[in-house]
Symmetry: C2
């Protein structure tokens, strides 16, 4: 059955999404940012043709990238987000009452522009605790004098402007910018896409060398390749699976009730890796 022109087809994901219309298309200095109205996933943002988020499934990615980090730290006050221009990660981080300041460093203002226009439920851009900076996150971290409790690397795939986010030198500067009990999370691609295995292996090897504790965890993100997405959690002190962390993750009922994916059991269960996934990052 031949597809129609009004269907988005992502070669990397094998995913086809029915489109109603194109809402936004802008070639920035860095990349092509587009937004489509879809049949069943709400609005969909792509960058250089790769799926970034849809209104219907964005909660999974943003909750899992944020809350695993935020509950692993005992009292996160200062948070740095590298990338994250759609605003969803900042929105989740800002739900934590301990937070005093969130610095979001997005290289491409076009992503924020598209999100504000077409994903009104995703960002919390008017929150006074949020500082959005349009600059290169790699340079920012290298030069910052600040000390963060949590750093979240919310970049796109390791081709194009996000390639440096998978490099050891950058991860070392993140380590240095974290306070003594700092926690880092990063998106680290789909275990099903073999062409990304070298990047995944590199990230986990680098984090494992730099941090006392580094673990991979997984979540189900339908519009990302193969629906299985990996993330890294690296910490200077506490394991994301310690009893303390799991107890903390259960404590804020008000926050937990606002979530659609994350809960303390999911936090713990996400770190259980199928054998074929373990093999990707083992030596």
């Amino acid at each position: 059955m031949p597809l129609q022109y009004n269907e988005f087809y992502n070669e990397q994901t094998g995913l086809t999404v029915g489109l109603k219309k194109k809402l936004f298309s802008k070639k920035s200095e860095y990349q092509l940012v587009e937004v489509f109205e879809t049949d069943t996933w709400g609005n969909l943002m792509t960058i250089d043709g790769m799926v970034m988020l849809s209104e219907r499934d964005e909660f999974v990615y943003h909750e899992m990238l944020s809350h695993v980090a935020m509950f692993t730290h005992p009292e996160p006050k200062r948070v740095l987000i590298i990338g994250g221009g759609d605003g969803g990660t900042a929105r989740e981080v800002l739900k934590h009452p301990s937070v005093e300041q969130v610095d979001m460093v997005e290289i491409d203002e076009t992503v924020v522009e598209a999100s504000k226009l077409h994903f009104p439920g995703v960002g919390d851009f008017d929150n006074p605790k949020l500082n959005v900076k349009f600059e290169d996150g790699i340079e920012f971290v290298k030069n910052t004098a600040a000390s963060y409790d949590v750093i979240i690397i919310d970049g796109s795939d390791p081709i194009g402007p996000a390639v440096g986010l998978f490099e050891r030198d950058f991860l070392k500067t993140c380590f240095d910018a974290l306070a003594d009990n700092g926690v880092l999370t990063s998106q680290t691609e789909s275990p099903w896409v073999e062409s990304y295995h070298p990047s995944m292996k590199k990230v986990f090897t680098s984090l494992g060398d730099l941090f006392p504790i580094t673990k991979m965890y997984l979540s189900y993100i339908p519009l990302y390749p193969a629906g299985m997405w990996s993330m890294a959690c690296a910490t200077k002190k506490e394991s994301p699976l310690s009893d303390e962390v799991l107890k903390r993750a259960s404590s804020n009922t008000y926050l937990l009730n606002s979530l659609d994916y994350y809960n303390p059991e999911v936090h713990r269960g996400a770190f259980a890796l199928p054998n074929f996934v373990k093999r990707i990052i083992e030596d």
Copy 2:
């Protein structure tokens, strides 16, 4: 970008798979069974256009449907599989050394024919412990005098011949055909596909009424809708999350080393349900 005729497109999944050629196509008394050679997933079987398995991802479904049941029972000897014509579930069940007899009741001989021809690595059809019967599984369970330790319901989606596998009357006959400490698992569709929520709710309500313990668990199956697949585990006695079960699941190193997905941590982690999934089966 318009797709080509040589691409399989599943409207339900939104999945597009590049096809090299059609290897098998037969309209049986019950359904249309087809096999395609694909670009990157090995051979792919569809029934009435719905994805059943690919060579590359079948291990996830078959390991998770089988081993969760098999390790939850203390010493499974007699196993009944309803459906499962591709042979993958029986292959996994037969890895357990306690097994003496596996009855596989598949309504449609065409599925076994297609599997033997085009999925030579999936079935273990020559195993002397395996009895394949071509008849209606619902009638078989109703009339059997046998008592099984484990029953695995490995049917297709609840439209067409598999619709009865989601009915309470059938599940009651399964309960009756199970021994005192019997365990049942069943595939129960994707939580992301809203049109299946009523079927899912019905299965879990019926199992919950019949069995002392009923739980949902999840696994990542890339070619199934949205990549997230749910399964039910219902038991007469022991919880699939008891310390005994998890200890047993760790004990057979030889078996575990042969697997690509299942391990004791994954067994436990699979029962951690995201909030939006819990809501589907809660009242």
